[in-house]
Amino acid sequence: MTRKRARLRRIAIGGAAWAVALWVFFPILWMVLTGFKTEPDAISTPPHLIFHPTLSSYREVFARETYWHFALNSVAISVLASIAAILLSIPAAYAMAFLPGRRTRGTLLWMLSTRMLPPVGVLVPIYLLARGMGLLDSRTGLVVIYTLTNLPIMVWMLYTFFREVPIPILEAGRMDGATRWQEITQVLLPLALPGIASTGLLSMILCWNEAFWSLNLTSSAAAPLPTFIASFSSPEGLFFAKLSAASTLAVAPILVFGWLSQKQLVRGLTFGAVK
């Protein structure tokens, strides 16, 4: 009797949860499906659930829309900005975690506070500075901005990872004759590698999806995928299949990254306030 009720409860919960999950995921699923349709199929009313999958839209995205140009921009900008941010944040996080001083805490919080500055608040000066330095529509401009906007989160995340490294291990390294450089590169970094990797991953995700600076500072030469997709907001966006194919391509890699790094994301995005 109660066992039966428990089973019913489980089924009800499972059913509800799956319904929610599918409903939330449906737009993404639909986008992926539409990408495999022909244009007429894509806008047929009522929508066709059964259709003949085709790669024609993908072909067109690759051929006509110079998708690779934008994808390459996205990859280059995200990777460079992530590497730069990590290279800057490793020494900073090391200093905070292992050489704390009276001002460490304040410095850390101040760094986080710079992340909370609304980008639109500094749109005007950044735009004018970029224009003055010839960095409008340049990858360098975006790399610099992404590095700086993500730096506080990177430092914070690495700091929390470093704090989990047992200090005696680093001291053992020092007793063994390691210099500061060797201590960091041969003892700390290999130990903290998983943390560093997920920090880099979070940075990649944030860079890849960033859509304020990319929309405002790039138009074509340096435009990453968010800008490219935004160009579909013109009537061209009514080519549903092509829009879907391009969007799927833009979203897919980062979606996989995101799935892989859920846990670290929580930590990074909440500044460690939720564990």
Partner: protein, 306 residues
């Protein structure tokens, strides 16, 4: 004597303040990041403040000189600005209510065990990783297009007349789209928080005869309160800056019906080239965000102690 066996190694017990020489080395390691962030946060801020009291239009060279508080006065008395402020509040408030309310319930739901939970969970958090421009177009065209959209087809299927959501109810639709993007975030964070709840505590409550509702009310919600606070504050920071979704779907329109503060500043600066006015708006945005940030930093700082 056996107390020694029971002692566990203290993993990262702080072992004393480092010596002065090592601290100096620490400052050196810290300086690149600190200097860059200092420049990054102070220079644009100073420039925004400076421009906000200047007469400065990119395409009108006759506008020069000191404006005093003129830009602010002009902005604050501009009905568009008030609309934008109101829209910002509605957007932030609406999305917060939806994502936090629904997110809490769904976090509890996804904390239960059911077949395929792992996959369902991955599906439900996916929208968070979709770039804003894609989300916006996905909803604008594939879902909500008055003729070809899936939702319109569904409405027709049940005998309703499809609605052009983005022009009839632009702000509400934006609230919905942005909620779709941020609901996964709330679920993700709150689910993590729920799972950190001591299982024994829940069991103890069950032993005390608490039903599911009582458990939720007296055990889970109090435990979640901190996480909820964090979600609210972080979302607020990002929601105050919502831009791409508006730019791609409604471009702030019709009129200024879906213009928020971020979009207003953008259009002042890069469509009307009014640097002074946009900067004044930027200062307002910074002030608002700082109020939220102050609360968030307090929560983070408290966590640093623990």
């Amino acid at each position: 004597m056996d107390q020694a066996a029971g002692r566990i190694p203290v993993a990262a017990a702080p072992v004393g303040r480092p010596s002065r020489a090592r601290r100096t080395g620490g400052a050196l390691l810290l300086s690149p990041a600190v200097i860059l962030l200092l420049v990054w946060s102070l220079v644009p801020l100073a420039m925004t403040l400076w421009y906000s009291v200047r007469r400065y239009n990119l395409v009108d060279p006759t506008q020069v000189g000191f404006a005093g508080l003129g830009n602010y006065w002009y902005l604050l008395t501009d009905p568009d600005f008030l609309t934008a402020l109101l829209n910002t509040a509605i957007l932030v408030g609406g999305v917060l209510v939806i994502t936090v309310g629904l997110g809490t319930l769904l976090a509890v739901l996804f904390d239960q065990s059911f077949p395929g939970r792992g996959i369902a969970r991955v599906l439900v958090i996916s929208p968070f990783f979709v770039m804003p421009t894609v989300s916006a177009l996905l909803w604008k065209n594939l879902m909500l297009h008055p003729i070809y959209g899936v939702y319109s087809a569904m409405m027709r299927a049940v005998g309703l007349t499809p609605v052009d959501w983005l022009s009839r109810y632009p702000l509400a639709t934006l609230v919905m789209i942005v909620s779709w993007e941020w609901l996964p975030f709330a679920i993700l964070i709150l689910l993590t928080a729920i799972q950190s709840l001591d299982a024994e505590q829940k069991e103890a409550a069950r032993m005390d005869g608490a039903g599911p509702l009582a458990q939720f009310r007296y055990i889970i919600l109090p435990h979640l309160s901190r996480a909820i606070t964090v979600v609210i504050m972080i979302e607020t920071i990002f929601l105050l800056a919502v831009f791409a979704e508006i730019s791609v779907t409604t471009a702030g329109g019709p009129g200024v019906a879906s213009t928020n503060l971020a979009f207003l500043i953008y259009s002042r600066a890069l469509l009307q080239f009014d640097v002074g006015g946009a900067s004044a708006g930027g200062v307002v945005a910074i002030v608002i965000a700082n109020i939220v940030a102050a609360f968030l930093l307090r929560a983070v700082a408290r966590n640093l102690e623990a």
